[in-house]
Structure formats: structure tokens, C-alpha cells
Amino acid sequence: MSKYRIKYSQDDKVKYISHLDFLRTVNRVFARSKLPLKFSNGFNPHTIMTIGLPLSVGITSVCDVLDIELTEPMDTAYMKEILNSNSPEGIRILGVKNAEGLPPLFGIDSAIYTARFDSDKEIDIDRFIAEESITIEKKSKRGMKEVNIKDFIRSMKVIPADDTMYAVEMHLNAGNFSNIKPELVIATLAQYSGASFCNIAVNREKIFFEDGQEVF
């Protein structure tokens, strides 16, 4: 079995495509690259691919990962090159490695994001960070649920902003066990501050496994 782990970025050009659009796009990248893809059996054969952590619409990333299965081993440097030349401009392949023996992607449990934004009034982010508990409505499998958003935020800090008024970095629960969308944290911050934000740019910077090891 030849399984490969691929690290890639998604920039502004592709931030508005949905997860489904992304899957279709990546499958076409693989098809164009003519790699010896392994297909599932059955009526509608499809590639055997796992996306580490789906990215929500409107967010960019410099650290996403996926696993793909091939029918035979390939040179990883070659793979990186051929995939890049067959990817749309907004998706760049940052690295490829053999996934044999690597921890499986379903073990992902947190991610670091940065968010930059303008606000219609001055806000106190540190006060938000210092709060013990902020209750919000969160969508769960069984309808809306009240949760403490702080339970999902591992750490958060103000970082230097360049173009915008404010910038924060946040380490959030992410993955199958517990997940929060970064845009929800920002929306909560706006609501908490009684402010309205615009020019919001959220980027995913790093993804981690449970043991704190970076995923790629």
C-alpha cells in the first residue's frame, strides 16, 4: 500500500469554494497529474482520499493536509512538482511525504488561526480573553445548544496588526472530538464588545495532533 500525506495552502483565490467544490477540484488535480491513483470498488469508483480538517468557506490556510492512496510508490519530490503544475493558482502543494507509519489524520485535535479585522469602535480584546465563561448558541447534531465558548479556546492573544486595526492569534479545538469555527469566535468577540467588524481575514496557520505534534 502506498499512502502519501500532502501539505497544501489555500489562498484568497479559492477561499470561497465549498468543501465539496474543493474535493472535486483536488480530484481533478490528481487526475491531471496522472498519478497511479487507487480507486474504490463499486459502481462509482472514487479515489481514496482523506482530508485532514475541512476548511470553512471564507478562510485561507497555509497548513492543510490530506492523505491519498496510490497503487504503487512514487517519488515524493516528483509528486510535489507534478501536483503543483496541475493545481489552480490558489492551491499550492507545500510538501509530500510517505504516510506509512504516520499517525492517522482522524487524530487531529486542534489548530491555530490568525484573524485580522477592522472594527467600528475601539474594543478590549484582553478583557474578552480574561473572561472565564462566555455562553453562546452553537449548532450541534441535535439542534442549537448553549455552550461556553471558552471551553473550545485553548489560548488567544493579540498580535501586531499591519493593514487592519486588530489582529489575534487563537489556538482552538479542531477535529472530530471537539471543534469550533474560528469565525464563530470572532463573531462572539464582536458581539461581546458590542462592535461590528469588517474586512475580516482568517487564516489557518497550524494543525496539531492530540499529543501536540504538528500534523506535517
Binding site: Y16, I17, D21, A31, F43, P45, N86, G90
Partner: protein, 612 residues
Amino acid sequence: MLKKQIENILPFVEKPARYTGGEFNSVVKDKNRVDIRFAFCFADVYEIGMSHLGMKILYHLLNEREDTWCERVFAPWVDMEDKMREAGIPLFALESMEAVKDFDFLGFTLQYEMCYSNIVNMLDLAGVPLLAADRGEGDPFVVMGGPCAYSAESIAPFADFFQLGEGEEMMNECMDCYREWKEKKLPRAEFLKMVSKIPGVYVPSFYNVDYNEDGSVKSITPINDEVPKTVKKRVIEDLDKVYYPDRIVVPFIEIVHDRIMLEVFRGCIRGCRFCQAGMIYRPVREKNASTLLDCAQKLIDNTGYNEISLSSLSTSDYRQLPELSEKLLEITEDKKVSLSLPSLRLDSFSMDLMNKVNKVRKSSLTFAPEAGTQRMRDVINKGITEDDLMNSSRMAFEGGYSSIKLYFMMGLPYETVEDVCGIADLSKKVVRQYFSVPKEKRSPGLRVTTSVSSFVPKAFTPFQWARQNTMEELREKQQALKECMDDKRVKYNYHEAPISVLEGVFARGDRRLADVLICAHKKGIRFDGWSQFFSMEKWNEAFAECGLDPAFYTRERSFDEILPWDMIDVGVRKDFLISEAKKAEQGIVTPNCREKCSACGANCYKGGVCYE
């Protein structure tokens, strides 16, 4: 910067990926290193425009030129347009995100009449003077083409010039001409003179149109001796030698036809009398199977698409279909690509082919008898008999299909209520065919869907002189048909009448309708093709304000009346159309091009079926 402004509004609109470009195979060039910037505009949303084959061909053809950068422009959806107008963002092109008003050309493809209001709206959003007469030095040239261009007099005052017919050669000639004009730094009017020398180019402002008291055309006069009396459409004589892109833009979001389309031939041998495409694309010219296979291979490799379809007017008439389909199936199986077939005439060959293609799921089959009685099918020259349909549906049911779609038209010339009710009879007979197949041989779940659209007389067809049914007549016929449709096993769909009446007005319109288009635009009319936006009341107001009556355009005309599009020559001669119209009245059929040539005039082009 415009780009930044656009980015700011994107989070607030539906499907922002319609406006961001960046798709694989889209072409980005350095604007400082090209001489010509061409905005290829499609007056509908991204998902529809991106599905259009002609645009794919010309986009890549233009971008093959080092001196030209062709970009795509689609009509922004209403939410986006509103945000753009609020923020003062003009119409922009997807590749550069720059305003199209600074381009050299805005090219519009006219695919259906119901996009005219969008064209006016897009010109306005672009900040380009709406009428060609109001454009000056520094403004882009607005060029139009596509199937409606042969009789697009109502939109003609908005165009600087038209390209009539197939564009692959003409487009390059026009760009060469433009370059020469630009190098010589000549005034704007000079370019129109120069470009009008290219065969197939029609410059509306070079023709004066006068009207009679009653509103009909009195005369069409070229403004001087240099202007030809008629402009003849261009065709590509040898489709194996013409440019076809080996790559196409692969969208991120799903579009209507999200697959590779292989055009196997142009034109149609059949000569159905209601069908404009069947006349304006004459003569039939086929591509060689080897050309197509080579093309298929490259397109699959360069796009990564996993579906490919054959696209032509009546694909069963392609003489190399057995070879082509066999080899295509080999390629597609090998590459895990699925082949989708258009609706084929049903015989043992096509049944066998469909079984190979749909190994698992038997989708529904489509038949288009178009009319309910034999008399009516003879009138329209649709060479299908009731027996043909019964045999085909039986074969389909025996072959395991249980869902059949039937397409009909109502409002055809010489049609009676009996003909309309014949639609119901025929549908019920198809149901009976299903039950005549032994239970163990047929699949469960019978579904017969009968869709009836309203006939719209089109220019350059034998019915171009015919009176179009009024809304009331159509409604009555729909009602009559509904009453005959008493079999619950037939699902009956019909199209709304008002929109086909408006379509009919613009399909046979004259230049005076340009005022109505401007007036409609001021009333905020756009996206007429989308029923949620279509408002006949607003259109009626616009007609009234301009002192024009829609019924004038849908009336019957005499053979000797000057038609608004008489300065255009599509190859098929008027006397042939008149003889076809007379044969229609008598219910006499005309053989297809391969049975017997009827000397329609299209053999003036040296190629295709006329010389087989």
C-alpha cells in the same frame, strides 16, 4: 483599487466564487505586454455562461494570440449587482478584476432573446454608452455574435458590429484588422469601415432602415456604395482543420454542463420547419472520428474532468458514431471517465450502446415527437411516425427503461385543438406500450413525462412569416390539453405562455425595439430568463411608453413584406423557405439532406453534406 473593493463585497453575496476567477486553465497575462484586451461577455450567470461551448472555443482561440488577452465576464447575479452599484464598482472581468470599460472589445454572445435585457444592463453597469451611436474615441467596441445575431435588429443599435456565423476564422481577422487600425492611430469610424470589409461582419449603422405607416419595414438602404447590400454568414468549411481548444477552463463551482463537450458535427440534415438551428447552421459538416478522439484524449488529460459528452443537434445522424463511440468507450473506461450520450434515435445499435454506457443505472429516455398528430408532424416536417415512437418506447421498456420523457410543442402553424389533444393520445399510447410488455420483462415504476412548450416563430425558418399564437390562445390550448390528459400515469408539464410571447417579439423584432429595451432597463428589468424576475406587466408598460404593440411583431406577414433582417444572408435562400412554408400548409414533407438535396442554397459554402 478595484480588486480590493470587489473583495470587500464578496463576503456578502451568494456564491462569491462566481466572481473570483483563478480556475485551472483560465488565462492570466501581463496586460502591459498585450495590444488587445477582449472581454468575452455572457449575459447570464457564471454557471450558465461557463457551460457554453462557443465561449470556451473563442476564449482559448483569442488567448492563443500573443497580442490579445481575452477575459470572461458574466452577468452578476442580482445580489452582486446591487452591491456593486452601491459601492460604485463597474462591470469587471474575472481574470484581471479590472473594469471592462477600459478594454478594446466587449464581445457578447447572443444565445437566446431573453438575455437582451441583461446585455443592456451589463453595458450600463460597465459604464459604456448604451448605444453605438453615443460611443466615442476611447470607448470599447461592442461586438455581438451567436445564433440570435442573424436577426438581432432589436439589439443591433447597441452593437458596433456583428460577427455572423462561425467565428474561428473571422475573430482572428477582426483582431488583425483592429491591430492595424490601432497602429495607424485612425479615428473610431475608420475601424468600422475597415472591419466591415471582412466577410461575415455586419455593421448595423451602415444601413438605414425606413418604415411604412403601419410599422413594417419600407426599405433597408446601405449608407453608401461601399457597403454590401447583404452580409453573408461565415462557416468553417473543414471542421477537421479548424482550431479546437485542447484545454478548457475547469470551474471550482458546479456549472450546468460540468463536463467535456465534444462537438461531433455542425448543422442538421433534418430540416424541421420550426427549428432555427436546423436552418442557420447549414450545411452539415462532420468532424472525423480520429480528430474527435485525439481531442477527447487531450481534453481529458488537460482538465481532469471525469465526464465527457457528445454535443450536436441530432447526434444519431453522425455517420461515424459506431467507431467513435467504441473507441471513446475504450478511452473513458481506461481513464475512469464516464461517457454521457445525448438523446439518440432508438434502434438496436443505440440500445446496445446505451447499455454499454449505463452499466448500472438506467436513466430516463427522451423522445421529441414535437407534435401530437401525423398531420401536424408533416406540417412541421418532423420525420417521426406514431409507429416509430411506439416501436422505440416498446424497445425502451423491453430494454429495462421505465421512465420516458416526451417533448412537444403547441401553438404551431395550422394547429387545431384535435392536434393538441393528440399529444395526450400519444402519451397514453406510450403508457399502453409499457403494459403490453410482459410484467417479468419490464422494470417497475413507469413514469411518462410529457413536456409541452409554446412555439415561437423564428427568423430564417419556413415559419418566419407565421402568426404566433396569442397568450389567450395558448392558455386555451393548454386548458384543452389538460382536460384530455386524464391518465394519472402521465405527468404533464407546460411552459408559461407570456415569456414565449416576449421571446417571439424579439425573435422577429426590428430596430425600433431598442427603445423598448432601454425603457425596460430603466424600469429595472433584468434576468428575464428567470421566472422569478420576469414581469410581463413591466414589459407591457415599456411597450406602451414607446408606442409599440407587441402584437405587431407576432402577427402573420406576407411573403413579399421586407423583413427587418433582410440584409442578412445565411446561405439558405428565401425562395426555399417560401416553398417550405407552402409545403407546410399542404402537409407535404421534405426529405432530409442525405435522402435528397432540396437545393436550399447552403451549398454556396464549399463543404459538408452538399458535396458528400
